[in-house]
Amino acid sequence: MKPSPWSLAAAFAAAGITLSPTPASAQAVAPDVADVPPTSPIDHREEMTRLELGYRGSFVPDPGFDPFSNNDFLPAFSMAVTRTVFAAGRLSFAAGVAWDNEGSTATIRGIDGGSLRMNRITVPLEGRLHFGPWGYAFARAAPGVAALETQVSDASAPATLSKTQWLFATDLSAGVAWLVWPRFERYRMTARYWLQADGGYGFVAQGRLNLGPDLPSGSTQRVDGVDLGTISMNGGFFRLAAAISF
């Protein structure tokens, strides 16, 4: 069963509550100037493991997307886990894995239903420029693959017409991450909450929309599918996310 965005968000919030050892009132009386590393010199606002959950909106202008969308907009639930692998001064570099679950449906010619779902699994490679308690700006390249599932339900077909195809995908984006809380005590190993936004362009290799019927196994029917041409899921996107880091 696929995790729903809401269940993941709830898990995300619960994790934050569990891992947060310091109440908000305590953080208010802990100024950065007194932030002396007691045992370790690691700045946990730069070197960290982050879990992001958010909303991604993509603009896909390709005509091949038209059967599946009324407005060329592809919404998505977005999740990523990254780990800082290098830090030097105000710069750091992180890598991880990300998953975008995207879907859209539309009515075709007032009769048919077209639906598209894409699971984009990428490896984000992220360079960060840190601004102390404000957070950081980042540029991200995320190569990976996308599983594109397309379906058309048509009364002229004895079964749903569908196709699943794996396509190479890469996201290029830039954005900012704002450290919400706690913004100080950088050497303290604790849960930190972030809000972030980025925008960029997603590349997906062109696919062919030659959908075939989902006939039951053993069916002897000879049924042609439908060829809707090609589809290119390239397009600009934005992403709004909340993150927790350790």
């Binding site: 010619r109 601004f131 002229s156 077909a157 900012v176 000879r222 996107f237």
Partner: protein, 574 residues
């Protein structure tokens, strides 16, 4: 710049980009489609998308589609009698309100080429009715009866299209039919006639367009219809001009008479409002007259409104053009009336109030029939009737019969009744060249059942059906397809090929996965003619969703090997 400002700016830009997308309008159009036959495929008129989708069958029983753009607001679609061309007449965006609005037009699609050839003919005003030339040279658009299509209409304007031979540019002519108060109701292209040319004794070969109005008949010489200054129109009034009586044209029959005589071509016109049959003889004009021929009109009363009229030959003697006469069936009085060249009438009481007749002499006497060719006459007529009522209120018996016409003396003779005892819905021709099936007719019964009628042996072979099927004959005359409209039952009826008799009839039951809208026997694309004609496929359309079809091998149809194609209107999305 503060980070918050950067975030706000980035979000604004990306959101704006996401919001400015648009979807091609074709995906939101409703499906309003109708299908029409072509020899090479099925033409699906996708009205909302302003296009015609031509679906052809491939050798592996898959389909190929070609989309042809047509005008907005299609009003009339017709296939040419030879099945090679499609006519799509559109009102356009009428009345025009912007420079980009489309004018009315006729789109002429030649399906004999790959890809198909499209010729648009723009028109000055919308015309709802289209009449096709049976010989494929011309077409004509006219307003005809009914409510005007616009605020003010000129019902006397007709547009004539020249289709053959192909011209470098679309050729059409807009003519205003001279009016004495009537409006054109029905147009008919005649076969080639030999008419006086004003100079020679052999005359000229030409064709005419007959324009029947509510009070007169206008004759246009098609040989000069596209001249920069067309010749003066010939109009003959049906009434004496002393009354306001209006006629409703029912039909015309044309006969060239003796081909070597340019002065004996005749036109018979009958109406559904008058018991008179009007007969026009096209003779030479007086010197100095704009047209070299002129019609003389006579009328003969047949006692009641005739159901049909035809020219028939009643004599085996070449003299007097084998006894050429006009034959009118008058079912309300259970009689037939012959009108000779002097407009004298001879009534014959019929055993049954037959309403329809078809002269089948040439079919019966063709070499393929084995009966030997007859050069002239007398003719054999096939008579048939649906349920018909007489003036006495008696519903007459129904059925069909052969009538061997002979010397007309007021007594019925030569009638050979065919044993079809149920109400007849239609009598259909079997297509194909004369060498294949010249002598078969399909008799479709009103309730259930089909007869295959052999004109040569005058035998009818019955086929039982569950309900009243729709019937489609293959273009090559070797098959008949029967299907239940909106059902999934389909059958191929293999017709006998001479010298086989009706006992060679065979039926192959088939079934489709979806309800059938129509069936079309088409040639398979890209296949050569193997000497016995191109191989054929049957395309059964399914007007569900965005239309599908089941494709059978027409020569060897089986349900197991049929290919289903789906979402046709999506596949070739405009």
């Amino acid at each position: 710049m503060k980070p918050a400002s950067v975030i706000a700016g980035a979000l604004a830009l990306t959101s704006a980009a996401a919001g400015c997308g648009s979807r091609a309008p074709s995906w939101t159009l409703p499906v309003e489609a109708t299908s029409y036959p072509l020899n090479t495929g099925v033409a699906i008129v996708d009205e909302a998308a302003h296009r015609v989708l031509i679906v052809s069958a491939n050798a592996d029983l898959s389909t190929s589609e070609q989309s042809v753009t047509v005008g907005h607001n299609v009003v009339t679609v017709a296939t040419s009698p030879d099945g090679n061309h499609l006519f799509v007449m559109s009102n356009g965006d009428w009345p025009p309100q912007s420079p980009s609005d489309q004018p009315p037009s006729l789109t002429y699609i030649d399906a004999t080429t790959t890809p198909v050839t499209v010729t648009p003919y723009p028109m000055k005003q919308p015309q709802p009715n289209l009449v096709l030339d049976p010989l494929g040279q011309y077409a004509a658009a006219y307003t005809g009866p009914g409510t005007p299509a616009q605020f003010i209409d000129d019902p006397n304007e007709i547009v004539i299209f020249k289709l053959s031979p192909p011209a470098t540019a679309p050729t059409s002519a807009t003519l205003s039919i001279q009016s004495f108060g009537g409006t054109p109701q029905q147009l008919t292209f005649t076969p080639t006639l030999t008419l006086p040319d004003g100079t020679t004794t052999t005359g000229m070969q030409t064709r005419l367009l007959l324009v029947e109005s509510t009070i007169d008949l206008t004759i246009l010489d098609m040989g000069h219809a596209f001249d920069p200054v067309p010749p003066q129109q010939i109009t003959v009034q049906l009434t004496d001009g002393t009354t306001t009586q209006q006629e409703t044209p029912a039909g015309v029959a044309v006969d060239d008479g003796d081909p070597s005589n340019p002065n004996d071509a005749r036109i018979a016109l009958w109406t559904s409002t008058d018991s008179n049959v009007f007969i026009f003889q096209l003779g030479p004009s007086e010197p100095g007259t704009p047209n070299p021929f002129t019609p003389s009109i006579n009328s003969a009363s047949v006692g009641a409104i005739p159901s049909t009229v035809a020219f028939v030959h009643t004599s085996a003697q070449p003299a007097n053009d084998y006894g050429l006469q006009v034959l009118a069936l008058v079912p309300s009085q259970t009689k037939a009336v012959f009108i000779d060249e002097d407009d004298d009438t001879t009534e014959v009481t019929m055993p049954t109030p037959y309403t329809n007749l078809s002269v089948v002499t040439k079919i019966i006497d063709s070499p393929a029939s084995g009966n030997g060719a007859s050069p002239g006459g007398p003719d054999t007529a096939l008579l048939w009737a649906q349920s018909a009522s007489t003036d006495d209120g008696v519903t007459g018996p129904i059925g069909m019969a052969f009538w061997d016409l002979g010397e007309v003396d007021g007594q019925i003779s030569g009638v050979d009744v065919v044993s079809v005892s149920q109400p007849i819905q239609a009598v259909l021709d079997v297509g194909g060249p004369a060498s294949v099936n010249p002598g078969l007719k399909i008799v479709q019964l009103a309730t259930s059942g089909v007869y295959v009628l052999d004109l040569s042996s005058r035998m009818a072979s019955p086929l039982d059906t569950n309900g009243a099927p729709s019937l489609v004959s293959s273009a090559d005359g070797t098959r008949l397809w029967a299907f239940a409209p909106n059902g999934t039952d389909l059958a191929e009826i293999s017709l006998p090929i001479p010298p086989e008799g009706l006992s060679a009839l065979s039926v192959v039951p088939l079934i489709t996965p979806m309800p059938i809208g129509g069936v079309y026997d088409v040639t398979i694309a890209g296949m050569p003619d193997g000497g016995v004609g191109k191989p054929h496929a049957l395309i059964a359309t399914h007007p569900q969703g965005t239309w599908g079809a089941t494709v059978f091998d027409a020569e060897n149809p089986t349900t197991a090997n049929a290919q289903n194609v789906t979402a046709l209107l999506l596949e070739a999305s405009p």
